[in-house]
Symmetry: C2
Subunit: 212 residues, 2 copies
Amino acid sequence: MTLSRQSESIRILTVDDHQLLREGIAAVLESQSDMVLVAQATNGHEAVEAFRRLRPDVTLMDLRMPDMSGIEAITTIRAEFPEARIVVLTTYAGDAQAAAALKAGASGYLLKNLVRKELLETIRAVHSGKRRVPPEIATEIAEHVADDELTAREIEVLRRVAAGKSNKLIAAELDISEGTVKTHMKSILPKLAAADRTHAVTIALKRGILDL
Amino acid sequence: MTLSRQSESIRILTVDDHQLLREGIAAVLESQSDMVLVAQATNGHEAVEAFRRLRPDVTLMDLRMPDMSGIEAITTIRAEFPEARIVVLTTYAGDAQAAAALKAGASGYLLKNLVRKELLETIRAVHSGKRRVPPEIATEIAEHVADDELTAREIEVLRRVAAGKSNKLIAAELDISEGTVKTHMKSILPKLAAADRTHAVTIALKRGILDL
DNA sequence: CGGGCGCTCTCCCTTTTGGGAGATGTCACG
DNA sequence: CGTGACATCTCCCAAAAGGGAGAGCGCCCG
């Protein structure tokens, strides 16, 4: 019977640093005869390690965690196991985060305010090879696919702008001329459709391009 | 027996728009013989309504919720029932949020990454009339008690600054002179120890003075 | 009722930011 | 090997932000 259960049940790994939420997921999964929670992890490192050991069918992964972020964990896992089915389960952190998770190989992106039914439906859908992204999120991502993304250097500059640094100071820190920092700003503002540097920072925070 | 249980058990209300988290709390509480979950609410309005009806001994309340925020709910409940014991259970949103919740009458402030033990210990402590604020949060609040707080007008100005508006535009919106907006900025920057308007916005976001 | 705080306003001066228009070197990808 | 994307740099100019100092007005609290 153990054998038959194994072959029929969806084996699940949860990754979240909120113990209470993991307990909630565990309680929901317990009520399902075709699902079994095989392990829990509290950060990206543990998630990768647990995945290697157990090869769960579906992984539910938060993005914001200590030590190693969810995105890194997804990337690492998918590099080793391209068939891994990973569903992001997180508080909404902007379209850029969601897009990055999907690019890294996530099969779904759920928000923590979901109801049990959505969770269960998504686990089954993803297990059977489908992708699941709720319409609200898909819409937000779609709104920005046409946009040029910020380059790594631009993000580096914007991060310092958020810290209240002047162009001159940023130039000194990055060892480039102030003029170049200005050039980067002149590239950043239209990309984010921002009126000024302050607006650029709040937009980047909203969209998950920068963290607080 | 029902009578004796009622007189001994701590009657608990949970308020959070995350169903999964509520399930987790429910699972934890179920394992305790001296606690009983009497109701759950998903926003501030429902919380107030449920509190009036059931008069729980301890209420676990999130802050960020649709319709009515946790702070408003706490204020409303404590106005009617000054003896209400309310514990905030939320993702950390800055010292200003925490301080506001405690000012509104919360008896505790827990973070969602807590472990069961802390939750249970806090519920018992608060039920017996104690206050419980974890040291990390107490420290952060303490760091800013000496600071001047922003006035309502200053927050109004800063909110518009965050939206990328120029002093001139803000002046027009608030129907005051640009000079006055500048005067407000000159008051805001030192209060937040910010280098410029952009920094002021990120600090205000971190500290929970502004929302994204 | 007097003082303090918050909100408002003004003047002046310096520094910073943002916009426009080019130009060069490098590296990667097809 | 070319073409494009990226990062770098320069020059110019107008607009905005920031810093300092002073002052009037209303309202609430002691």
